[in-house]
């Protein structure tokens, strides 16, 4: 094969969608591509769907790789690789004009008369069988395709081989050898016969010497918890939370910790609270239905002032809803879901990297304020892969101290003067009067009391610590314009597309700002100043616009600031926001005023 025939095209931002069946192992190719990008200091974001039947079915894996900042998985694809006719038919509309369709000639018959696309037919199945022998065809096709892509995009084959051997080593030499056969077959395919160019990624612009790590959000969250010194937890399986509990169950014993699978979510949070009460800040978590089951015990932790971390990997609701889709419809439940006035902290990570850091922040706050902290992640964050700078572990790692220092005889578990810091069992109390932690209203010593004034004071005590916390939260910075026409406000996994909407939009960069809120409860102080600088404030959320026409974060912001220019861009289709949808939403709400925002490339 002579490469001279082909043009070389430098690229710095490519979206590749692989469409097939979940059984084809397309996640595996995607994972290797993402990991490779991470090792090459490129930015990467992936996106995948999970088939709704247990036995598998149509499924996609999308990788976006860029030499600059990559913020979302992309609104449309530059390359579509279709394994089957249904893959082709279902996803062609996602391919950009001028985009390249690569397809298995065995299964796909594209309409080559449609001149909007470039067609690259490859007998994927046939060549894989030829290379590996018939029986293994289903297992090899994905790796063949990986080889093909390596050729097309001039990927670093050495790094890829290393990745494959790392991943497959424990499966045995034979498996690895077979895999490499398939890879070589793909890599060796004379793609230049059908494509007039090959591509190469520009070297990354912002190499800062730090190496990158590549993982999904649930992995990042798990590692964040461990780095934060969390050594105990309990849980019950549910998609898409399970992979956090599975990882903790495997990992914690190495650190001398325990993660217990229990009979249901009520037991899980009760046990986690028991761990915390014993002096070991613990974690539990779930998704939708399981989170609802935890609301009673969570209220106890608020009342008794026991810290605990509760992770909610949000999925489509209500009820069993859409277990494998993304949604941000649990925010108000996180804040208000338990009976009574139950002030507690709610945080949300903005991307995979932040899943790591938010876990650290949650642990810090839980301990300092002796309070439950809820982390609202979501299905998109949980399953998507990103590369990010390796954290400075040495600096961040927390040694999980069990503090049993003797307390003086005037020790009061619920002192009015201080933020509660409990004495775990095992702690000697001088004078020998031992404390009780309780979910009944209580006096400073923990004795139940129905005294009216006391209840007022204790209610205030539990609330005031969150007000104190609010004072220490930094005001989040605004991306893009610092004042102007439109401020987009978001939380959680909408960060990428929002930032891209603002920063990618050079033409209107001066008019669009983006504020992302990570501390959702309490909110940071000072947002009103930011809001006052924009004519319109659009809160972008993946939840319903509700009876009155605004979403959940918008409810909080409107109530607090009584600012009617705060409006909502919502959707509940179970898919991450596209940049285009955000800009269209803005246009819809603004009318003519910003109709020309549509000049953005995506329309």
């Amino acid at each position: 094969m002579s490469e001279s025939k082909q043009k070389k095209e430098n690229v710095n931002d490519v979206v590749i969608r692989l469409a097939g069946n979940s059984q084809d192992g397309i996640q595996t190719i995607g994972g290797f591509l993402a990991r490779l990008a991470g090792r090459s200091d490129q930015e990467v974001i992936t996106y995948m769907t999970i088939p709704s039947t247990i036995s598998g079915g149509p499924s996609i894996f999308q990788v976006r790789i860029g030499s600059g900042e990559v913020l979302s998985a992309g609104d449309s694809a530059d390359f579509l690789l279709a394994f089957y006719q249904h893959s082709y038919e279902e996803h062609l509309s996602f391919l950009k004009e001028g985009g390249v369709l690569i397809y298995d000639t065995e299964y796909v018959k594209p309409d080559v008369d449609d001149k909007r696309f470039v067609y690259v037919g490859v007998p994927i199945t046939g060549l894989t069988i030829e290379a590996m022998g018939g029986s293994a065809k289903d297992k090899g096709k994905n790796i063949f395709v990986l080889g093909l892509l390596a050729r097309m995009f001039s990927l670093n084959v050495e790094k890829l081989r290393t990745l494959m051997s790392e991943k497959l080593l424990n499966k045995g030499e034979d498996v690895l050898r077979n895999v490499l056969v398939a890879f070589d077959a793909g890599y060796g395919y004379q793609v230049d016969n059908v494509l007039d160019r090959y591509y190469a990624f520009e070297p990354s612009k912002q190499v800062d010497g730090k190496s990158q790590v590549t993982m999904d959000g649930n992995q990042a969250m798990t590692l964040g918890l461990i780095t934060a010194g969390i050594r105990y937890g309990a849980g019950y399986p549910i998609t898409p939370w399970s992979s956090i509990m599975e990882a903790l169950r495997s990992e914690l014993p190495k650190y001398g910790g325990k993660f217990i699978q229990v009979e249901d979510e009520l037991a899980a949070i009760s046990m986690a609270i028991g761990f915390s009460y014993s002096g070991n800040l613990a974690v539990t978590g779930s998704s939708g239905p399981g989170i609802s089951l935890k609301m009673e015990a969570l209220g106890w932790a608020v009342m008794a002032e026991i810290p605990v971390i509760l992770i909610n990997v949000q999925r489509g609701g209500p009820s069993t809803g859409l277990p494998t889709s993304v949604e941000q419809s649990d925010l108000l439940q996180a804040i208000y879901g338990s009976h009574g006035d139950t002030p507690r902290v709610v945080l949300s990570p903005k991307n995979v990297e932040d899943c790591f850091y938010v876990a650290l922040e949650a642990a810090r706050i839980a301990k300092k304020y002796s309070t439950p902290v809820i982390i609202l992640s979501d299905q998109a964050l949980a399953t998507r892969i990103e590369a990010f700078d390796e954290p400075n572990l040495e600096e961040l790692v927390v040694d999980p101290q069990l503090n049993l220092k003797t307390r003086p005889s005037d020790y009061l578990p619920y002192s009015m003067d201080k933020i509660t810091q409990h004495a775990p069992p095992g702690t000697i109390i001088e004078g020998g009067k031992y404390p009780v932690v309780t979910g009944l209203e209580h006096d400073e010593a923990g004795h139940p009391s129905g005294n009216p004034e006391l209840h007022m004071k204790m209610t205030a005590k539990r609330r005031e610590k969150l007000q104190i916390l609010a004072n220490e939260i930094d005001i989040p910075e605004v991306h893009g314009a610092q004042e102007g026409d439109i401020l987009f406000v978001g939380w959680g996994s909408t960060y990428g597309p929002l930032r891209e909407a603002v920063l990618g939009n050079t033409k209107f960069a001066k008019k669009l700002g983006h504020l992302h809120i990570r501390h959702l409860h309490p909110l940071p102080n000072g947002l009103e100043t930011i809001f006052s600088k924009f004519r319109q404030i659009f809160v972008v959320e993946m939840n319903d616009s509700g009876i009155y026409g605004y979403g959940q974060l918008a409810t909080l912001l409107r109530a607090r600031y009584c600012n009617s220019s705060i409006r909502s861009i919502n959707k509940t289709d179970g898919l991450p926001f596209k940049v285009r949808e955000i800009l269209e939403g803005a246009k819809r709400l603004s009318g003519d005023a910003v109709s020309n925002y549509s000049a953005y490339p995506y329309e």
Partner: protein, 310 residues
């Protein structure tokens, strides 16, 4: 994991007086007073370090226990004391974990946690003050109320077959199971002691009269009220012919059969067997994992994981 603790000072002897906290809010005559009294007495015998005793409970009259005992204590929510206490037990092998509660708390709303705590064989001692009624909420039918019992929720008499606590416990996999009566202080104390000495999930059902809402419920088991307090004759393994008929406490099938006796049944240890506790099993997993990772530090372990993700 490191521990910051203060070195031990010479200890005062634990007495009932020291162990007494708030005056119980129970009705005068409530059976739970005796259960509390027996607990004080037994703690006097064991002389655990004061700070290492933990008294936990759910919600109910009986579940107010932690306020009346001057130890570290936790008054949790209704029905979930077992998983709460499991967290405490699994994280802290140095503690003596006690759980107290009622029949509603333990067999109704908490029935499943009891079963799963038992099969996991979590190391703790759980005392269920069974009064056959909901006391705190003022006389509703409980899962142990007998058929015909008239309560506010069964004004014409209960109709549902009650649960059999001993059968439930044997089936659940609890590794120490005893039954006693709040009027029999010495027997109660003996059961407490054996439960505490047992390594694993030990449960005592104590018939404890609710004088307010189910007076006289347990007279049939109280000799002073003309009843019979029949004790289990435990096998001595002495080879004598009498020993044949005695109860082998390690035989779950025999225990199940004993539980079938007619009201007021029999008292004593129904079942007692050593089986690896959840505490030991989890510690074992840790040990293996630590061996495999060669006792690497937290930072080393984390760094290795991150390296794999590069």
């Amino acid at each position: 994991m490191s521990t910051t603790a203060t070195p031990e000072a010479p200890r005062e002897k634990l007495t009932k007086k020291i162990l007494t906290a708030d005056h119980p809010t129970w009705c005068p005559g409530c059976g739970d007073f005796a259960v509390l009294h027996a607990f004080y007495k037994v703690l006097e015998k064991f002389q655990f370090p004061h700070e290492n005793i933990v008294t936990l409970a759910g919600i109910g009259c009986s579940s107010r226990f932690p306020y009346f005992v001057n130890t570290h204590g936790g008054h949790f929510i209704h029905g979930r004391a077992v998983p709460f206490a499991t967290g405490v037990s699994l994280a802290r092998d140095d503690l003596q974990v006690f759980v107290f509660g009622g029949d509603g708390d333990g067999f109704s709303i908490g029935g499943n946690h009891l079963d799963h705590g038992a099969r996991k064989n979590v190391n703790l001692t759980y005392v269920i003050m069974d009064n056959f009624v909901y006391g705190l909420t003022k006389k509703q039918t409980s899962p142990t109320s007998p058929i015909g019992f008239r309560s506010k929720t069964d004004p014409t008499g209960a109709v549902d077959q009650p649960i059999n606590p001993m059968k439930k416990l044997v089936t659940s996999g609890a590794t120490f199971i005893a039954r006693t009566h709040a009027t029999q202080i010495k027997h109660m104390m003996e059961m407490y002691q054996r439960a505490i000495n047992h390594n694993g999930f030990s449960v005592i059902e104590c018939l404890s009269e609710c004088v307010e809402f189910y007076a006289g419920a347990f007279d049939a088991g109280n000799p002073r009220k003309g009843g019979e307090f029949n004790l289990i004759d435990e096998k001595k393994f002495d080879g004598t012919p009498e020993d044949e008929d005695r109860h082998d406490t390690s035989d779950s099938m025999a225990a199940y059969q004993l539980a079938d006796m007619e009201w007021p049944g029999i008292f004593g240890v129904f079942y007692e067997k050593d089986r690896p506790t959840k505490n030991d099993l989890e510690n074992g997993i840790i040990k293996k994992a630590r061996e495999k990772t060669k006792e690497a530090s937290d930072l080393e372990l984390l760094q290795k994981t991150f390296n794999r993700l590069k």
